[in-house]
Assembly symmetry: C2
């Protein structure tokens, strides 16, 4: 069994490669829910939906989120009726949030809803929220603490990011199956997601970091930073906000003690020795995922790195 | 001020005529909410929406409900996710239910939501739910009591209707402004709606029937039955279920003691004397509303009938 810690778009694309290499049924994706937010009274779980839609083959390929060829008629009418519509939600996508909210109100857990939806969409990978309890990622800015979605989407990351917190995480319990999956894993992969607000959130759920550190499986991370910049998303200001350099060195620093080996891009090959000296093993490959073949190759290289990794994380 | 008791499609079309004759701002529509139902966790108020969409000029003209040129992408995806989708809800229409549900959960009353939406859609007529409290119209059938929407939409009225009840109506309070509007009315009109499950529900709200009977204004009803059949909808089996003949005689019997004058179609002119003998004044005109001109003429004829009516309802 391969367990993948996942954020949104980067993780979803990595998983598209991984399902080409191993049977989807042997993969568990543990997904960040710190970005979840209620819009129009509906529970939206962006990263879970990105991962599920991508693996279902229905994601909007240009955006990386939402459903392909979706329309926004509901959102237009919501605007007419006076609602705030800065968070874009397509009509098909809204069905997910409507149904999720209905089931949560009926007493289902987010885990149960997530599993029902991935099955309804014929996704073989087991998709699990990191927790069924609410956790809210917030960004400190000069205008105060902002929910991650307000910071990123509503205000387009225009505020200086001064810090990050995960509200509620200390009381959150890992979702059923999460710690069990980490204990049973043959390989643990940290997908190329934002190390602070995607992976950092998952690692902050009580028990998760310990389960990874204690696991006998190799732990491999794929750097989301290539040549000093993220492929997508707000990793740069958020890494800086928590004192991390926006580089593979910063990623390695963030994951030190948790991973055995970091997969970095050819563009960062000159930093490999620095990283090794600092105590993290390194594998160098092409990490930019343009098409299916590149996704597959990155998955293979990642599993290879895990297979040959020396254990270098600390208990 | 003209107060109109309203169900769905027939009432909405009548109101389209009335706003051509008097300023919309002088009209209050008191609308049935017994058909309201929660679908996918969302509060749907079919009659309020039909009236509001129609007066806003955005109703689907062929169906008489829903929004013109609407799509059903959300509903398709809801079906994929395992939801029951027998109640058709378009994408634009869903925005109304999403926003209504959000506002109700935030503590707004249905009256407040309804007023906000009609203003957002530039509807001059004041649209009021009959009550802010839940009332559920149920139909007795051989398979048990069914919510009106289950009886009509899910099971397509295929069960024998044996009786009708309005669950919760005895505890329901008339919505703010309803009794005040009836007391202040210069004319009270019962729109050509189902006398049992649209108007009957409104009349069953404590205080409404008394306020109408006590009013000094003339009370005029427009028959929804023409030549022994309703123009639209399930009036025939539901009138029979409560012991009413499916005819203008049945309508007059239903409204006896509440109205002064009944507007009936030319096709029923031969029954006018029967009705007068039975104690209801009658006005005969064309009541089929095909286009704007006919709607306007029916509204004029209805107001004329009210103006010349003798008071023949009982205190």
């Amino acid at each position: 069994m391969i367990v993948v810690l996942a954020g949104g778009v980067g993780a979803a694309r990595f998983l598209e490669g991984l399902v080409q290499v191993v049977p989807p049924e042997t993969i568990v994706a543990i997904v960040n829910t710190g970005d979840d937010m209620v819009f129009h009274g509906l529970h939206v779980s962006p990263d879970i939906d990105i991962v599920t839609y991508t693996l279902a083959g229905i994601v909007d390929p240009a955006q990386g989120w939402g459903i392909r060829d979706d329309t926004t008629h509901t959102l237009s009418m919501l605007a007419t009726l006076g609602a705030e519509t800065w968070f874009k939600l397509g009509d098909r996508d809204l069905a997910t949030h409507i149904r999720r909210t209905e089931l949560l109100r009926a007493g289902w857990t987010l885990s149960q809803v997530t599993d029902a939806f991935r099955r309804a969409l014929n996704v073989g990978v087991r998709v699990m929220p990191m927790s069924d309890d609410p956790v809210a990622t917030e960004i400190a800015t000069p205008v105060g603490w902002l929910h991650f979605q307000q910071y990123l989407v509503q205000r387009r990351a225009r505020d200086e990011a001064l810090g990050v917190r995960f509200v509620g995480v200390e009381r959150a319990r890992a979702a059923p199956g999460v710690l069990e999956a980490l204990r049973a894993a043959e390989t643990i992969v940290i997908a190329p997601s934002n190390p602070v607000v995607s992976i950092g959130t998952i690692l902050a759920v009580p028990g998760v970091r310990d389960a990874i550190v204690a696991s006998s499986a190799p732990v491999v991370a794929v750097s989301p930073i290539i040549a000093g910049a993220p492929v997508k998303g707000p990793a740069a200001p958020l890494m800086r906000a928590v004192g991390l350099e926006v580089s593979v060195r910063g990623v390695a620093s963030c994951y030190r003690g948790v991973i055995d080996v970091l997969v970095i891009d050819q563009a960062d090959a000159d930093l490999a020795n620095d990283l090794r000296v600092s105590g993290v093993d390194v594998a160098v490959t092409d990490t930019v995922m343009r098409g299916p073949a590149e996704k597959r190759r990155l998955a293979e290289a990642t599993l290879d790195a895990a297979r040959t990794a020396r254990r270098c994380r600390s208990y």
